[in-house]
Amino acid sequence: MSATTATAPRAARAGASRDLAPRRRGARNRLSTALWSALSVVLFALFAFPVYWMVNTSFQPNNEVRGSEIHFWPDNFTLRNYATVLFDPGRTPFAPAAVNSLVVTLTTVLVALIFAFLAAIAVTRFRFKSRRGFIVMILVIQMIPGEAMIVSIFRVIDGWHLLNTLIGLTIVYVATVLPFTIWTLRGFVNGVPADLEEAAMIDGCSRAGAFWRVTFPLLAPGLVATGVFGFIQAWNEFVIALVLNARPEMMTLPVWLRTFLVANGTTNWAAIMAGSTLMAIPVVVFFLIVQGRMTSGLVSGAVKG
């Protein structure tokens, strides 16, 4: 839905400006377009360079990385850094941390989506006494800084004997992701006109059936976008995992990467870059796959109508 509304005016505008542009200004327009295009190439380089530099360094032998000469290209291509990260038994192992991250993140997304979906239906499709209060509460919770809560969350989780467990971390992540997820999904559900459900009900659907058959399919892009956002948030989360799951076998990837950084000082940048790359890959891939949906989704979720 958002895709069609977004492309229609763009196409119309492109056509209009082509027709209306006076001929004399054609040359000037072409020049300014060329300048903007050149600028965009420079900006592309600025944005992409750190990512390139990470990957580039990760494929170079460490003694070359620590040399006086800068290698803009991995001339002596090596996979040794990745082998060090993945298989070196002397360091905190990578594989368990990766598994922990995957389990915690996927469970968080699934649970948060279900809970948030139910809550979003409640606040958009029903009228009840504390509806407004609940929405305001969701907004306010998002303003509470997580770092302020970390101390007492640590103590609460400790009280439940869930420190250094995946369940404990997952519960906290669900709560962290939930307010944003509810808020965004609320926007999506609001975006589907209730008239559609009404029409289905006139045709003989039950209320629940109308919602399930008409509104739910239209919400799929919204659920995907919100889920991806939750995935990225949970996958990248650092401070809570640092405090709650400090034991090596219970670490998630960000905490592992930090431990790896501290353990190697800054003497083995090549291996640190390899670890950094491994952690970034899933998120970057995810972003590239769903990016179109994500921006339109975030906007239509965050802004009414």
Partner: protein, 332 residues
């Protein structure tokens, strides 16, 4: 006369009200507000799972936080010694401690610079995206997407490596490319000011794409006819942006600015990891990191709790205006 006049109307209006109000809910609302119905206990049932999680992980710890902030709560208490009540002593300690004000000032200034830079650059990038031919737009989008997608910790470590004292590419280019000898073995992280320059670059680099993409998506919704009409009336590019584009995009500006303020005020990962790489902790702590240092690393949960409460209050005061605005915009 006057007494009867003032005496009668209330009675009439009450009767009138009863008459007019009574049939109303029956007819028009049923059509207009069909979607939002009472539904008995259903909405409450739907809210139960989310509410339980939020109560357990936000509500309960919040109460705990308030209690701890009024107690003497150190390492001994973690291992079971009963905490003693000191009421507002922790708060007095914090508010009379000059370190706290240094941290607070640092955080506020740093966040303000980051938010303003991010919003300005993000807006310019969105306008640029709109002007580009398709191929270049795609290229720039990919570049920004890569920056946006980088996990904050990975990003910080990569930038830390690029700014490395001995082998970093930035020093190398400055020395070999521009002949600036003073940057040979120059440490960017030791001096607090240049530490925050690096931290700011990392944060802005990661946040501009979000703002740019969001605003660009909004820009495509601004009606072209209105802009063209303004152009024919002689409005320049800046005027058109200020008088037409900006009002259309105001809700999006609002949302993105709120998010930037929240994210930049409580920034943790970038500062913490940069300190690991080479900053001086005591001179570069921001609020989030300071809370961690005092309570988790330092073991003083009482004082840390008081700092956390004060931080939360500041952050929520800053965002209060925006919460109210959002509630108004959304017509809750």
């Amino acid at each position: 006369m006057t007494t009867t006049d003032t005496g009668v109307p209330p009675a009439v209006s009450a009767v009138d009200g009863e008459r007019i109000v009574a049939p109303q809910p029956d007819e028009p609302p049923k059509r207009r507000r069909f979607s939002r119905r009472a539904g008995g206990l259903t909405p409450y049932a739907l809210l139960v799972p989310a509410s339980i999680v939020l109560a357990a992980i936000v509500g309960w710890p919040l109460i705990q936080l308030l209690i701890t902030s009024m107690q003497e709560f150190g390492r001994a208490q973690v291992f079971g010694a009963p905490p003693s009540w000191v009421w507002f002593e922790n708060y007095v300690d914090v508010l009379t401690d000059s370190t706290f004000y240094e941290v607070l000032g640092r955080s506020l200034v740093f966040a303000a610079v980051c938010v303003v830079s991010t919003m300005v650059l993000g807006t310019l990038m969105a306008l640029l995206l709109q002007r580009l031919p398709k191929g270049f737009r795609l290229l720039l989008s990919i570049g920004m997407l890569l920056a946006w997608a980088m996990p904050p910790l990975s990003a910080t470590i990569v930038w830390g490596w690029m700014f490395d004292t001995d082998y970093g590419i930035i020093n190398s280019v400055l020395v070999n490319g521009f002949g600036l000898e003073e940057f040979r073995q120059h440490s960017w992280l030791i001096d607090p000011l240049s530490f925050f320059l690096v931290a700011g670059i990392i944060i802005i680099w990661g946040a501009v794409p979000f703002v740019a993409f969001t605003l660009y998506a909004g820009l495509t919704q601004v009606p072209e006819e209105v802009l063209e009409a303004a152009q024919l009336d002689g409005a320049g590019a800046f005027k058109r942006f200020r008088l037409i584009t900006f009002p259309y995009l105001k809700p999006i500006f609002l949302i993105t600015t709120i998010l930037q303020i929240i994210w930049d005020l409580k920034v943790f990962t970038q500062i913490f990891a940069l300190q690991d790489i080479g900053g001086i902790r005591a001179l570069t702590n921001t609020l989030g990191v300071y809370i961690y240092q005092v309570s988790i690393a330092g073991g003083d949960f009482g004082t840390g709790g008081a700092i956390a409460v004060i931080t939360a209050i500041i952050l929520m005061t800053v965002s209060l205006y925006y919460v109210r605005q959002t509630i108004k915009e959304e017509e809750l």
